[in-house]
């Protein structure tokens, strides 16, 4: 194990550039994981369930880091003009927050970002549970559309998440 003690380092061989202070390297991603979900529409019911493609069983690299999860999820209101759904975001079994996704004739894709403290270095689940307001009525359904290209058509939509575990020492 070798350690170089210095204030700054020159990261670029061009001599006309200023050396980089080490303090500017304090914010760094130490682990990352990501996934796409292309499994097509998911039909929720009136029980809270993990949304497929919107969770990960994650093992933090460090216990003193922070974990930022960016989730991109498309959805549509089905079987009634007014779609209603309930969402709860968990990390390590701890609820981080809850919100509704509702609206009249709603079709969209949203990007949600949650930032939580590491829970240690053991594996635990991080992600969304959701349920519908009523089963197959006033429902928000992920990963599909209602209208498309001028007609009524259900398209398969991609979901995506990225987890970045990071340290911000000295920043």
């Amino acid at each position: 194990m070798s350690t170089l003690i210095t204030d700054r380092i020159l990261l670029d061989p061009r001599t006309d550039l200023a050396p980089t202070p080490l303090t500017e390297l304090g914010y760094r991603v130490v682990k990352q994981t990501r996934a796409n979900y292309d499994g097509g529409q998911w039909n929720p019911d009136t029980n809270y369930n993990w949304v497929p493609g919107m969770f990960n069983d994650y093992t933090p690299l460090l216990a003193n880091s922070r974990i930022r999860m960016t989730l991109m999820i498309p959805y549509v209101g089905l079987n009634a003009a007014h779609g209603i759904s309930h969402w709860i975001f968990y990390a390590n079994g701890v609820e981080q927050g809850r919100h509704g996704v509702s609206g009249e004739h709603v079709e969209d894709q949203r990007t949600y970002v949650w930032d939580v403290a590491s829970w240690g270095t053991s594996s635990a689940r991080i992600g969304y549970q959701m349920r519908a307001y009523a089963n197959d009525n006033h429902e928000i359904r992920p990963y599909t559309t209602r209208y498309w290209d001028g007609g009524g058509s259900q398209q398969n939509c991609r979901g995506q998440y990225v987890i970045e575990e990071y340290l911000a020492q000295g920043v």
């Binding site: 194990m1 070798s2 350690t3 170089l4 003690i5 210095t6 204030d7 380092i9 061989p13 080490l22 303090t23 390297l25 304090g26 760094r28 991603v29 130490v30 682990k31 990352q32 990501r34 960016t70 991109m72 498309p74 549509v76 003009a81 609206g103 009249e104 004739h105 709603v106 079709e107 969209d108 894709q109 949203r110 990007t111 559309t145 209602r146 209208y147 498309w148 290209d149 001028g150 398209q155 939509c157 991609r158 995506q160 990225v162 340290l167 020492q169 000295g170």
Partner: protein
């Protein structure tokens, strides 16, 4: 060219070590643009949405590209419906989704992340069409404003961060 091989860096007078292995992920190129040319009502055919595309040349073939877009969405006559397809490398579909609602007016953030296609210049962005002659969506504007009907000019932004991921 010289190479110094070391496990850790340490700032003078600071206690913590900076393992070089934790510096793998880094942004190597960034691009941003702002669009303020007024609202856009898409047609019945797919077209590149103004302000929501960029001809981008990756710095590396082994990187990942994160494209963050934020823009206003509104309507012209109540129930607005738009079909949206996001592409990278000109014609590689990354995904599709609708944007619709009853009298919607809001501003959203969309983040797409995908692998670099190489180091050739190619287009990243949204192609969008409307549902039809009714249910017309309006991008980058407003419908109601300050107590009346008024189409305000919105600001759209794209931020591209190309980064080398942790291997």
């Amino acid at each position: 060219m010289t190479t110094l091989r070391v496990d850790n860096l340490q700032q003078q007078n600071r206690e913590y070590l900076l393992p070089v292995s934790q510096l793998q992920q880094r942004v190597i190129k960034e691009y941003r643009q702002t669009y303020q040319n007024g609202s856009w009502d898409p047609s019945d055919s797919y077209a590149w949405a103004p302000g929501l595309w960029v001809d981008y040349q990756p710095a590396s073939a082994s990187s990942r590209i994160r494209c963050t877009m934020t823009f206003n969405f509104s309507h012209t006559n109540g129930h607005a419906i738009a079909s949206c397809v996001f592409y990278s490398n000109g014609s590689t579909e990354q995904g599709r989704h609708s944007i619709a609602g009853q009298s919607p007016e809001y501003r959203h953030v969309y983040v797409w992340e995908f692998a670099s296609w190489g180091t050739g210049k190619a287009r990243i962005g949204y192609q969008i069409r409307r549902h039809g002659g009714s249910n017309i969506p309006r991008f980058f504007g407003t419908h109601h404003w300050d107590g009346v009907g008024s189409n305000q000019t919105g600001t759209s932004q794209i931020l591209i961060e190309e980064y080398l991921p942790i291997s």
